[in-house]
Symmetry: C2
Subunit: 406 residues, 2 copies
């Protein structure tokens, strides 16, 4: 029951990047659940990982490998998070990297492993290792859609976005895939995202670009306020198009590319929320005119994660008292409720902390009937602002999460 | 569907305190929704209020009146929170106090108003004022049970606790009532509690006792992590029994009485959680051997408020990865997951951050089948500890909160 979310349209292959998928029997039903990405010869690659203290084995190993050498392969499985698996989980992840290294002639440190799925079970390592030769053989630059499918868990729709733009007469492609539907809250969410471009970008610049883009996108979403053990977002520049290289922050090329990358990340992040577990509404929360960005974020997340707000939205009930209570509970210093205005779409419900004199339940209800709802909180005490994307809390969410393992 | 919660047994009247209830047509269905408490001639009284920045009119007025004079009457309505009602809400609350003052010969500042219910609607002030003479006439010390019923909102069972103890040959009674089922999270929850005793206690001592008792009880519960605009907890010493006066912190009488007061508050707080909206499980979360109390509380609340943990508990699913993820997301410095042990009742599920070698799904599942579940997190890095009481997240919660106003 994704909200206004369509299957991916055209996904544009990225020169220099090849992918392959297959079923290794990890996911609960018969389906591709293993993805290999070959980054090619000239690529640079960077990644950000979950800030949850409880980090899955693949997160630990990927981060280590990324600091040691330049990655050639990414190996991603769905259906099993390889988290809470202790030393054996670490060894399993390393062994899979070693097997890929052995079969391809690279070092194990040049392989980054990623996992998503159930926590606390060991990976079927033998099944995965057995299938690696066939994954290496079937690599193709056309496999992005299959890849988007292979990394899904409770997602109902595959998530992929492509963009081309022209920079200095070079046609640049950026393509990204992502998965995630529950346990979604930065930093990061239960999500994986892999984004690639075909031009040359050095690693420090890649780092900066990814960090900025993630802060404006994947770190602005919440489905249920829970954060995960396995999140990762990877950005690859394949270097296939040698005639364009971005080397300097703030340059013309940097600006153009960054903007496109931001768009891709925001679109992928929004797709995750639109496919949020049980979501029937897509909620855009704007907090404006705050004293600083942090208080805007605190308020936006307090609204995004309030079960009472989320159930009211689920019921299309403009129960604005719950919004005010969610704002009030943040513990922000000197917050004066009498300055606050609250809008649902273009309906002003609360003015200076009380119900707007012209507000009618009918107007509120008709705003809440829409699938996409914009909540705007005007704090009237500064010029900082932020946006967070969220969804409602439904019976379907309970059903999905109470029956996840049964 | 309250968890192991029975209707109140014997409620013992408190000498010096009289109560009366009636229906003023505020609550959605025909039912007593107005409660007047007469504190008598010799009483002292103190209260703690919500820390939500969005404070309802009665909270503002009660706090003001309490600082100005010694209360004689408490007036409490259910069905309408008188919150988000701006200046008119303030005036309504004051007018009701004035009416009681006029009818009884006291000052308006000697009346404290309390409200609980829907946010954003004006009180039917005329109905309330009209009925005050009959409330004053029908005051009786035997009305505690009616009082417990009159303050209910989404509560399914009235909540009252009585205790007697002997201190220095005086038989002391403590009786308390409380309401609350959703929007429950300190500080404070959508709850009201009124607790009275018949002995003499001066106001500074009452303050200390109430503050300690609330911190160990009402500030240790969470149903849905939302905090409210209207919360208040009132402690009254009627002074009816002049032969016992508690005047000094730490004295023998102080200790005995405080212990009994703590027990009453904990019992009322637990009743609120057991009657949590949609609750089918009562969850005791112990976090032990932490570095300090704050990190124990952060972890306990992160578990208590995690939708993924709550839905797993609802399904009796020992999905321990979600517990570890909830612990990990707290952002506590240097938290080493490899030190953590996790128990569900007496079953050790996680040892040193990984599944215990002897753990079986069957053992986990049989622990989760019980109505009362104790989660114990051993951080193994200090000697601080805390306990939080919580419940699961069910379809019923969604139904109650998505349909609250329809």
């Amino acid at each position: 029951m994704a909200v206004g979310l369509l299957p991916p349209k055209e996904i544009i292959a990225v020169d220099g990047i090849r992918l392959s998928t297959c079923s290794a029997g990890i996911y609960q039903s018969e389906r591709d659940d293993l993805l290999l990405i070959d980054l090619g010869n000239n690529s640079n690659c960077t990644a950000v990982f979950t800030k949850n203290a409880f980090r899955a084995a693949p997160v630990i190993i990927s981060e280590q490998h990324l600091s040691q050498s330049s990655p050639r392969y990414l190996i991603i499985n769905s259906g099993n998070a390889n988290a809470g698996t202790g030393q054996k989980g670490i060894e399993d992840a390393i062994d899979i990297c070693k097997e890929i290294a052995k079969q391809s002639g690279y070092n194990a440190e040049q392989v980054l492993p990623f996992s998503t799925g159930v926590i606390g079970e060991y990976l079927p390592k033998e099944n995965i290792c057995k299938i690696i030769p066939s994954l290496l053989e079937s690599l193709s630059k056309e496999n992005w859609l299959n890849a988007a499918h292979a990394i899904m868990t409770t997602d109902t729709i595959a998530k992929a976005v492509s963009k081309t733009l022209t920079i200095n007469n070079t046609e640049v492609t950026i393509t990204g895939i992502a998965k995630g539907a529950g346990m979604i809250r930065p930093d990061m969410a239960t999500m994986l995202a892999f984004i690639a471009t075909d031009i040359c970008i050095n690693k420090p610049i890649l780092n900066e670009m990814l960090s900025d883009a993630v802060n404006n996108s994947f770190n602005c979403i919440s489905v249920d306020g829970d954060t995960s053990t396995n999140d990762a977002c990877v950005l690859i520049a394949s270097g296939a198009k040698q005639d364009l290289e971005i080397t300097r922050r703030g340059s013309y090329e940097y600006q153009l590319f960054s903007e496109a990358l931001n768009d891709i990340c925001i679109e992928l992040a929004q797709k995750i929320v639109r496919d949020g577990e049980g979501a029937s509404k897509f909620v855009i929360i704007n907090v404006i005119n705050g004293y600083n960005k942090q208080e805007c974020r605190d308020i936006a997340y307090s609204i995004a994660d309030s079960p009472l707000v989320k159930t009211a939205i689920n019921a299309s009930d403009p129960n604005w008292g719950r919004f005010l209570a969610a704002i009030g509970k943040t513990g922000i210093a000197n917050l004066d409720i009498n300055r606050i205005n609250l809008f649902l779409n273009d309906v002003c419900i609360v003015e200076h902390g009380v119900r707007h004199k012209d507000y009618t339940e009918e107007a509120g209800q008709s705003a809440m009937q829409l699938d996409d709802i914009t909540v705007c909180v005007d704090l009237n005490r500064g010029d900082a602002r932020t946006t967070v994307w969220s969804c409602d809390l439904s019976h379907e969410y309970i059903t999905i999460n109470a029956e996840y393992r049964t």
